[in-house]
């Protein structure tokens, strides 16, 4: 249990997907003009990461890894399919996003309209694929750990995007030099936020 909380807190603050690994940067900069859209995208990312990382964990451990197929028959002891992981992960993500979209549309039309275009776009958000790839690289022990890493990364992204959206709403009223307006200043603000997040670095949990 303690281990799960550790992974969760780590992935939110210390290994924040946006500031430590620059994942999901495109949507982070493009969809952070107002807090409400940032909130919608953030929720969608938490949702999809929380679902796809555990599923990809199962696929990784029962199909792709070396010797993972031995539960089928001992003859597959030496089969190593890990070179297929990119294509499997992206297929899982794309189909899960489609499924989640349909489920949300049926179960909660209100949430569906508020998420709007962001749900389908998430299929090509690097934070989602990056979550699965980091899960593979760090070799988590149990599915619960993988799930807590997935949800934690999502929450980290949510915090980062809502934070910068709030700053950008305020900055509309400041007088910024022409060439720096818009994208330029957003990059610099993101850099400053990254420095703030770096103060969590080195904390041992």
């Amino acid at each position: 249990m303690e281990e799960l909380v550790n992974i969760f807190v780590r992935s939110i603050f210390i290994d924040n997907v946006v500031f430590a690994y620059f994942l999901g940067m495109c949507s982070y900069l493009a969809v952070s003009r107002t807090v409400s859209t940032a909130h919608g995208l953030g929720m969608a990312v938490v949702f999809v990461l929380g679902i796809t990382v555990p599923i990809n964990y199962l696929i990784e451990n029962y199909f792709l890894q070396k010797g993972a197929l031995s539960w089928l028959s001992p003859a597959f002891e030496n089969v190593d399919l890990s070179f297929l992981s990119f294509i499997m992960f992206i297929a899982v993500i794309a189909s899960m996003v489609q499924l989640v979209e349909m489920a949300v549309e049926k179960l909660s039309p209100k949430l569906y309209t508020s998420l709007g275009i962001f749900l389908p776009l998430i299929a090509v958000n690097c934070a989602i694929l990056g979550g699965s790839l980091f899960m593979q690289e760090r070799e988590y022990g149990t599915i619960a750990e993988a799930a807590s890493f997935g949800v934690g990364s999502g929450v980290g992204f949510y915090l980062a995007i809502v934070g910068i959206a709030a700053i950008r709403e305020k900055i509309k009223y400041s007088n910024i030099p022409g060439p720096l307006r818009g994208l330029g200043i957003t990059f610099i603000i993101a850099g400053l936020m990254g420095m703030a997040f770096m103060s969590f670095m080195g904390i041992e949990l």
Binding site: F19, A20, Y21, F22, L23, G24, M25, C26, L29, A30, R33, F83, L84, S85, F86, I87, I90, A91, A94, A123, V124, N125, C126, I128, L129, G130, L133, F134, E137, R168, I171, K172, S174, I176, P177, G178, P179, L180, R181, G182, L183, G184, I185, T186, F187, I188, A190, G191, L192, G194, M195, M198
Partner: protein, 222 residues
């Protein structure tokens, strides 16, 4: 671009085709103007070598993906086009990944997950959607290579700045040491290696580019 004449048969490097190759380098740079493909651009720019390797990989994947999708453009049903594009890109990326693992193992370790993340690099998807799906093979190829090169230029500039000031080397060659500035009391700025400085460096590059090319300035604040 309006003065280009429509010809029956265009030469291979007509004005319009060269334009496809050069506009992404400045006016429509994927990173600094269109805000595409930033994730990988920032993460691999601590050193010049991984940045160069990633640039070459992206140029290969993007040129080929554009060609393949452009060849298939009349047979792909529009409902499932995203997944078809993802499959094309993912197969090419697997090829690149295996080649890197075989011949450049050290660099491939350094790049870690970012080779895989070429799949979700939004430039590639974006150009496939916007260009390759509705254009002939040769212009699509040029467009792909041009955009990947525009992406690569920013990558290499950022990596050059960060490596020079962060570790005092250029492509592994100890420039600062050879210049003898350490004896004068110069010290490497360790902060340049850390992630936030990548963002700020790109921010400053955007500033410089837009100050030079004033038509890119955004009219409404934020």
């Amino acid at each position: 671009m309006s003065q280009t004449e429509q010809q029956e048969k265009e030469p291979l490097f007509s004005f319009r085709n060269v334009k496809l190759l050069t506009t992404p380098l400045d006016d429509e740079n994927p990173i600094t103007v269109l805000v595409l493909g930033i994730c990988s651009a920032l993460a691999v720019t601590v050193m010049l070598q991984p940045a160069v390797v990633l640039t070459i990989s992206v140029i290969c994947v993007m040129g080929l993906a554009n060609v393949i999708v452009s060849l298939l453009r009349n047979t792909i049903p529009s409902r499932i086009r995203i997944i078809v594009q993802l499959v094309v890109i993912a197969s090419l990326v697997i090829l690149v990944d295996q080649i890197l693992k075989a011949f450049l193992y050290d660099v491939s370790r350094q790049l870690s997950v970012f080779v895989g993340l070429i799949i979700t690099n939004c430039i590639i998807m974006g150009r496939l959607e916007a260009f390759a799906l509705s254009n002939k093979v040769w212009p699509s190829f040029l467009d792909g290579v041009g955009n990947a090169a525009g992406y690569g230029i920013i990558l290499v500039i950022v990596a050059f700045i960060r490596e020079l000031f962060g570790s005092g080397t250029v492509y592994g060659y100890p420039v600062m040491e050879r210049l003898g500035v350490y004896e004068l009391g110069y010290e490497d700025n360790g902060f340049m290696i850390l992630p936030p400085m990548a963002l700020i460096t790109v921010g400053v590059i955007i500033w410089v580019q837009r100050a030079r090319n004033r038509k890119l300035i955004e009219s409404s604040p934020s």
